[in-house]
């Protein structure tokens, strides 16, 4: 994967969490995700299409997700609450939208978000696209942004 696609996600996740939650996020060393490696317990997932395609996963342990959602919504919501997934979906929507805006000159669309809740679930993207895990540390707990995108070859868009 072109490493230039990682920096926009780093900037975007920090901007979203700082602006909407007043929660600073420190970024660790990005690494390659191994095939079949589980995500955390709560994952917000968004697809990208256009000049860049793939998927973005914002993945949290349950306790971290509940803290983050509480900060975002202003009320204590457990992961079983009907509005919990909506909040996680909106967070991954903002992170993905903010990142794609930094893909200079690229026409990219994002899908509506999906949210998966369950221990040790796996998220599988395209087999021909590597997934980079961006570790994030915050006072609400540690979480990951998983980025599996690739630039679409020009011939595929013509």
């Amino acid at each position: 994967m072109d490493q230039s696609y990682i920096v926009p996600f780093v900037k975007s996740v920090q901007n979203v969490f700082e602006t909407m939650l007043q929660l600073p996020v420190n970024i660790g060393e990005p690494s390659l995700k191994n095939q079949g490696e589980p995500s955390f317990d709560v994952s917000g997932i968004i697809g990208m299409s256009g000049d860049v395609e793939g998927s973005i996963v914002l993945s949290f342990p349950v306790t971290c997700a509940e803290r983050v959602v509480s900060l975002f919504t202003g009320s204590e919501l457990e992961h079983t609450h009907e509005d919990f997934a909506d909040a996680v979906g909106e967070l991954v929507n903002m992170v993905s939208g903010g990142a794609k805006a930094q893909f200079n000159g690229k026409q990219v669309s994002i899908s509506c978000p999906s949210v998966v809740i369950g221990a040790k679930h796996q998220v599988h993207g395209r087999k021909d696209t590597v997934c980079i895990v961006i570790p994030c540390q915050s006072d609400a707990g540690d979480f990951n942004v998983e980025v599996a995108v690739r630039q679409v070859p020009v011939s595929a868009n013509t």
Binding site: N15, E90, I110, C112
Partner: protein, 123 residues
């Protein structure tokens, strides 16, 4: 002031409702997508609309075009993650009066709402 909030995220609608309440606006109707919003226009004539872009069933841009084509003249603020300049231009051409990129602080949204309404009053 009657305000229509169009966003598929209930969380986002609640955040916007809180900001509107602080500005003194309490006559608020909500819609989860463009189609839902169109269906509510008959019974609720909004004086201000806050519209998301990416939504299921009917996206915000399509809704704005349909609203304007049907004679809807109230000011519209697009509140969206779509931050690229080309998108902003597309939205303005469709009839959007102002634009707020998510994520936003309450102050930014409140300021855009006041600015938009002031422009309409001055026109």
């Amino acid at each position: 002031m009657k305000v229509l909030l169009v966003d598929d995220s209930k969380t986002m609608r609640n955040i916007q409702k809180g900001i509107l309440a602080q500005l003194g606006y309490s006559q608020i109707e909500e819609a989860a997508d463009g189609l839902d919003a169109l269906s509510k226009l008959g019974a609720f004539s909004p004086e201000l609309l806050l519209v998301d872009w990416n939504m299921p069933n009917m996206d915000g841009l399509t809704f704005v075009k349909k609203y304007r084509a049907s004679g809807g003249a109230s000011p519209i603020i697009m509140v969206t993650t779509e931050a690229e300049k080309v998108r902003v231009v597309e939205a303005i051409k469709a009839g959007v009066n102002n634009y707020v990129v998510k994520p936003f602080t309450p102050d930014v949204l409140a300021e855009r709402i006041k600015e938009t309404l002031a422009r309409v009053t001055a026109a």
